[in-house]
């Protein structure tokens, strides 16, 4: 691993947390292997597979050609025949190249073949804006809401990244695992031992009583920043991180909304077609009588993200937009 020797042992970066999870699962189970572009000797372009090639060898930490349909479809073939692949699309933006494999095959193979198979496979998709251009800087998780066989998992902290990835690898269902690239360098404490986080369980990242802010991925960090600012104004927000979209932990969300009666949903994907629409609709359908104000969505503007970081500030949602949204319904 690319250890930062200055950091205390239990504090790891998000990318170290990913490589720790992979390392532990590779060591635990011979049927686990990983492949992707530049994940071997190079250690992954985000360093999330650093050291694994040296430790687990070229048979289990495998550099593939630039062949995304093979990376995903080949992973499926291995999953159908007794292995537990963890495959990486170097950029989540490559989902489109392998969309048939992801959406029609990985997610559906079990169902369309009468439940005859399990598909114990994880697809890691680095997502989010990081200055790599329109096609790379995407947050496509909502596109998979109708890929019903697949779970959608999205960690926001190193501890969640490690615990969720380990659970995903042990899960017999296919998991689409979205990692925001800006989070890779963030760090945080990780519980010791065999740290597992159950899939489909939301986490209250900050308890509060006035407004529920449902946020995932990078927007959890922004929501926590917003909470500090709002706190000084006497507004106490509760930050609910669903840590994924399927299974969606409706219970935790509903409990929070019942308490606050006010909801902001924040994600980095554009508002139109973003998963916030789905979450908002579920809340409206099932508990509109609890709402004391309209649901507000905080998301990227409805435009292709410009490559210029200067222009990106006018498109991407930050803490300030969450603060404004909360104020507007408080």
């Amino acid at each position: 691993m690319s250890d930062d020797s200055n950091a205390p042992l239990n504090v790891r970066t998000f990318s170290q947390a990913i490589s720790d999870a992979l390392d532990e699962e590779l060591a635990r189970d011979d049927s686990v292997f990983i492949w992707g572009e530049d994940i071997g000797t190079y250690g992954g372009i985000y360093g999330a597979t650093g050291g694994l090639f040296e430790k687990h060898g070229p048979e289990r930490v495998i550099d593939t050609p630039i062949s995304e349909t093979f990376i995903v479809g080949g992973g499926l073939g291995a999953a159908l025949t007794g292995l537990r692949p963890v495959v990486e699309l170097q950029s989540g933006g490559y989902f489109g190249i392998a969309m048939d494999e992801l959406y029609n095959k990985v997610a559906r193979w079990r169902y369309m073949h009468g439940g005859k198979f399990t598909v114990p496979m994880v697809v890691r998709l680095p997502e989010g804006a990081k200055g790599a251009g329109q096609e790379h800087d995407v947050s496509p998780e909502a596109l998979f809401l109708s890929a019903f066989g697949a779970e959608i998992v999205i960690p926001s902290t190193p501890a969640d990244a490690k615990g969720l990835l380990k659970s995903a690898i042990r899960d017999d269902r296919p998991v689409l695992f979205f990692e925001h690239a800006v989070l890779y360098a963030t760090s945080g404490p990780i519980p010791p031992g065999d740290h597992l986080v159950p899939i489909g369980v939301a986490d209250i990242k900050r308890p509060g009583s006035d407004v529920t802010v449902i946020a995932w991925s990078r927007m959890v960090i922004e929501a926590l920043k917003a909470a500090e600012e709002l706190d000084s104004e006497g507004i106490d927000i509760e930050v609910v991180d669903p840590r994924g979209l399927r299974p969606l932990d409706k219970d935790t969300i509903f409990e929070s909304v019942e308490k606050t009666g006010r909801v902001v949903i924040a994600h980095e994907a554009p508002k139109t077609g973003g998963a916030g629409g789905e979450v908002a609709a579920i809340i409206a359908e099932e508990m509109i009588e609890c709402l004391e104000a309209p649901i507000v969505r905080v998301a990227s503007k409805d435009v292709t993200l410009p490559q210029s970081r200067h222009l990106q500030q006018y498109v991407l949602p930050q803490a300030a937009q969450i603060v404004d949204a909360v104020r507007s319904i408080s």
């Binding site: 062949s67 349909t69 080949g74 073939g77 292995l83 494999e101 369309m112 073949h113």
Partner: protein
């Protein structure tokens, strides 16, 4: 050398595949199959010849033309008929209909995708898995000439070659991708692509079950001994339309009659008789036996009920 017994078995197996399809078509005519069908008539020698040398633990990714692949790999004909009728007796428990996604992990039947070209990466992954697990299992991937033009073909054949994966790529070149003739859609000879990937390429008469069997057996031997993949192009022809109801306006005059003279089942039968491997009466007897086996399977399959709404949310 193929034994006499195996020669007769080839006949029996091809007849079974043909009769299964005939019976399936009767079910369609009776309105009992609620979807389309892609006939495999004329191409029976390929699944029968290629799958005969496989073990149960070997895998196949089958093509959509006919059901010879799954029958030959050992699936129950009752299950398959029931799948066509989408009742609960089917292997998919009622999800089936005309183009069912048959699968059986125990028989190495990995299923099929409805989008052509899906098979290539999945087959390569299965080949990787066999090698990773330290077995000498092989995977056969069946596909048509039209499907060979998908980009997935390249990604999978490239990786299969560099990693020496135990996969046999079998192209059934029946000359048409639905309606478009091969010469208008496909550059060069498909088998020659093997040169580019640095793997053995073999051309075989896909209307001759013995040739298919022999060529595939050699490819399997190479794959089992760690020598990697082989690309086989089997020249063949489909006697019916792409799908039932296809007006077939694209065929050239007389073309089909010429190919019908090379009917894989008829020509093999004639060879058995000419070489005195089997008498006509014996083969007629086998055919009658196959017909009754198929008929019994169809009747048994018709007895199952249709699934209820609870089926929709099972096995998600």
């Amino acid at each position: 050398m193929v034994t006499n017994q195996q020669q007769v078995k080839f006949y029996e197996d091809m007849v079974r595949v043909m009769l299964w399809e005939q019976r399936a078509m009767r079910l369609m005519q009776e309105g009992k199959v609620l979807a389309g069908y892609h006939s495999g008539r004329g191409q029976e020698a390929i699944p029968v010849g290629a799958i005969t040398p496989l073990r149960d633990s070997d895998c196949i990714m089958y093509a959509h033309r006919g059901f010879g692949y799954t029958i030959q790999k050992g699936m129950s004909m009752v299950d398959m008929f029931a799948d066509l009728m989408a009742n609960v007796g089917g292997s998919t428990g009622g999800l089936g209909a005309g183009i069912p996604h048959f699968a059986d992990p125990k028989l190495g039947i990995l299923g099929q995708g409805g989008t052509l070209g899906t098979c290539f990466p999945i087959a390569a992954g299965a080949g990787f898995s066999a090698k990773y697990r330290g077995t000498d299992e092989v995977t056969i991937c069946f596909f048509g000439d039209g499907t060979s033009n998908r980009g997935t073909f390249h990604e999978a054949l490239n990786v299969a070659s560099i990693w020496k994966l135990p996969v046999i790529w079998i192209c059934e070149n029946n000359r048409y991708a639905v309606s478009v003739p091969s010469e208008k859609s496909t550059a060069g000879r498909i088998v020659d692509r093997a040169i580019g990937y640095g793997i053995p390429g073999r051309s075989v008469d896909g209307m001759d079950v013995v040739s298919v069997y022999e060529e595939v057996t050699e490819a399997i031997d190479r794959a089992r001994s760690g020598e990697g993949p082989t690309l086989i192009e089997a020249e063949c022809y489909r006697f019916r339309g792409h799908h039932e109801g296809d007006p077939q306006v694209y065929r050239e005059d007389g073309e089909i009659d010429e190919w019908r003279r090379r009917d894989p089942i008829e020509s093999h039968r004639q060879r058995l008789i000419d070489n005195e491997v089997a008498a006509a009466e014996q083969l007629d007897g086998l055919q009658a036996q196959m017909a009754s086996e198929v008929e019994l399977a169809a009747q048994e399959a018709e007895n199952f009920p249709m699934p209820g709404p609870e089926r929709v949310f099972q096995g998600v």
